[in-house]
């Protein structure tokens, strides 16, 4: 009955019915994308979850095995370690770029922005491959150093922690620079002038004024990069050695080499949950909109 009267009422009030119909029509526009995402994304992801807990009856043995085997706990630890270190090193490389970008003249600023955006657009494989060429035994660095007579035997720069850190930092720097730069653009530089007028040194001005004001950008960039790093696959596989294999790489080995799909599924769920935890922190403090709003220039 209530529904009936509401229906009649809405039909009488022309504007209400239009709104109603408009809302419905526009919802229908979203339906194809929703269906595609349910069929091609939600169901496949759920099938991973199901595969990890039914083998064929309900069981948690794959999760127990993961946390009881020292090898896998170690890989989980390595994954977090590499993610934290690469986020920090991307911050160290990226922050000065953002700081200078904020202050540079338009010509230099555009050149810097162009270089960063270009590096960001180049194929991931190509960027990793270029580091192989630079870092390998007879690569660019070793050739140059030995020609100059600085080293007798080639340095080991590849297939170790150093190689992975260089490769991942290289990929993450743009993701760090853009959010910090966009936050810095919103800060009035007169604040620094005021600090200076009140007797602060350059160093004090930076640490007490500029740096704290850029923290939201640091937070946004660092969390975004950390989320990406947790699931990183290409760089550890190409530039890392056996000791730098992350969770993603182990999942691939389980699927392709050992054909152990249920265990690979359990590891995937663990990786997904770890990512979602970090993401919920991001969402809580920065909001979903930042995910794209902060990255664009």
């Amino acid at each position: 009955m209530e529904v009936m009267t509401e229906y009649i009422n809405s039909d009488k009030g022309a504007s209400a019915s239009l709104w109603h119909r408009q809302g419905f029509r526009q919802f229908m526009l979203v339906v194809p994308a929703l269906l595609a995402l349910i069929l091609l994304f939600a169901i496949p992801i759920s099938s991973v979850l199901l595969k990890s807990i039914f083998d064929p009856d309900f069981t948690l043995k794959h999760y127990v095995y993961f946390f009881k085997t020292p090898l896998y706990s170690r890989v989980l630890w390595i994954t977090f370690q590499i993610s934290i270190l690469s986020t920090l090193s991307a911050l160290i490389v990226g922050y000065p770029i953002a700081y200078v970008l904020r202050r540079a003249k338009p010509g230099i600023r555009n050149f810097f922005l162009l270089a960063i955006t270009l590096s960001f657009m180049i194929s991931l494989l190509v960027r990793n491959y270029s580091w192989i060429i630079v870092l390998q035994r007879n690569g660019v660095i070793n050739t140059v150093l030995s020609t100059l007579g600085l080293i007798d035997s080639p340095l080991r720069l590849l297939h170790n922690r150093f190689g992975v850190m260089v490769g991942m930092t290289h990929i993450f720097v743009p993701y760090i620079v853009f959010p910090i730069y966009s936050v810095m653009m919103g800060v009035d530089l007169n604040l620094e002038k005021a600090a200076q007028n009140l007797g602060a040194s350059r160093w004090q001005t930076f640490w007490r004024v500029s740096f704290p004001l850029s923290l939201p950008g640091i937070g946004a960039g660092a969390l975004l990069v950390f989320i990406m790093a947790l699931g990183f696959f290409i760089t550890p596989a190409l530039l890392g050695g056996r000791k730098e294999q992350m969770l993603s790489n182990l999942i691939q080995i389980q699927i392709v080499d050992l054909l152990n799909w249920p265990f690979a599924s359990a590891m995937s769920v663990i990786l997904l949950i770890a990512t979602l935890i970090v993401f919920s922190v991001y969402n809580r403090y920065l909001g979903l909109e930042r995910l794209w709003g902060g990255v664009k220039k």
């Binding site: 099938s47 770029i97 270009l118 494989l125 530089l189 699931g231």
Partner: protein, 277 residues
């Protein structure tokens, strides 16, 4: 305040960047771009091994690439898969953006979050998910399988630029067209679509590029019958020494420059249309 500090304050310029900072930020920029630039001279070497600096200069590697059937089919597969993905993803993305930006209905925030959620899921988890599902459907080793996997992956990246453009679109233009007697379809085809077209193209380019560069999902889905360019490059980087690789990388670098110019051009068009000039 001492005389010295007053003097310093008077001369203080917040835009001033000291030379150590120039060195640090300049090196960071070199770090970002130099390794890829190094590949260009390396691609001109003619030897069977990759050497730095190359001993003979020539375009042999490029010639070899364009006459190699396996690489050609990889490029062709990649182009087909990426183009199909871009079409699907853009089609779904335009409709979804129109609904989400202009619609008023419950659960909009949730749907928005759902559409961009493939951005957050680790790529290896997606790869396993598609591997399990597409194996059931017998679509491993097919281009269709790759397109089905890449559509949700690229959807967020086509929705974001399209909805950003839509949000800047002045809807009174539509009302004007309607008042002047245009049908709903005419209004969309003659007014709305032409104005938001640069945003749609940007979304399509993003979707294309992501699919064109994707390797992790490809490792699982390509099999031996639908090998894409990134998958073939991956195999070569991992297991062989292939003197053609610097040449291939150089061409992908040029592609990135072309895309950058194209996207920059489209951004300008969007900005111009939004300010109504």
């Amino acid at each position: 305040m001492s005389e010295g500090s007053r003097k310093r304050a008077a001369h203080f310029d917040p835009l001033h960047v000291g030379w150590p900072l120039w060195v640090v930020s300049g090196s960071a920029i070199i770090f970002l771009i130099a390794p890829v630039l190094l590949l260009i001279p390396m691609s001109l070497g003619s030897a069977e091994i990759i050497e730095f600096p190359p001993s003979q200069i020539g375009l042999d590697q490029y010639r070899k690439f364009f006459s190699h059937p396996a690489w050609q089919s990889a490029v062709l597969n990649s182009l087909q898969v990426s183009a199909m993905t871009a079409v699907f993803s853009t089609f779904l993305g335009v409709m979804a953006s129109l609904g989400l930006v202009w619609g008023r209905f419950r659960g909009k925030g949730l749907i928005n979050a759902f559409i961009i959620s493939p951005m957050i899921v680790p790529i290896i988890v997606m790869a396993l998910a598609f591997y399990i599902s597409l194996a059931k459907l017998g679509l491993i080793g097919t281009k269709l399988g790759l397109v089905l996997a890449y559509t949700p992956l690229t959807l967020p990246f086509s929705v974001l630029p399209i909805s950003a453009t839509l949000r800047g679109f002045d809807r009174s233009l539509e009302n004007a067209a309607r008042i002047l007697g245009a049908s709903r379809f005419q209004t969309f085809a003659r007014i709305t679509f032409p104005i938001i077209r640069p945003g749609i193209l940007t979304g399509a380019i993003f979707a294309f590029m992501i699919a064109f560069d994707e390797v992790v999902i490809a490792l699982f889905i390509c099999g031996t019958t639908a090998v894409t360019l990134p998958k073939k490059m991956w195999d070569v980087i991992r297991y062989e020494i292939e003197p053609m690789l610097p040449a291939i990388s150089t061409m992908l670098f040029l592609l990135a420059i072309i895309i950058l110019v194209l996207v920059g051009f489209l951004q300008q068009r969007i900005a111009r249309r939004m300010t109504g000039r």
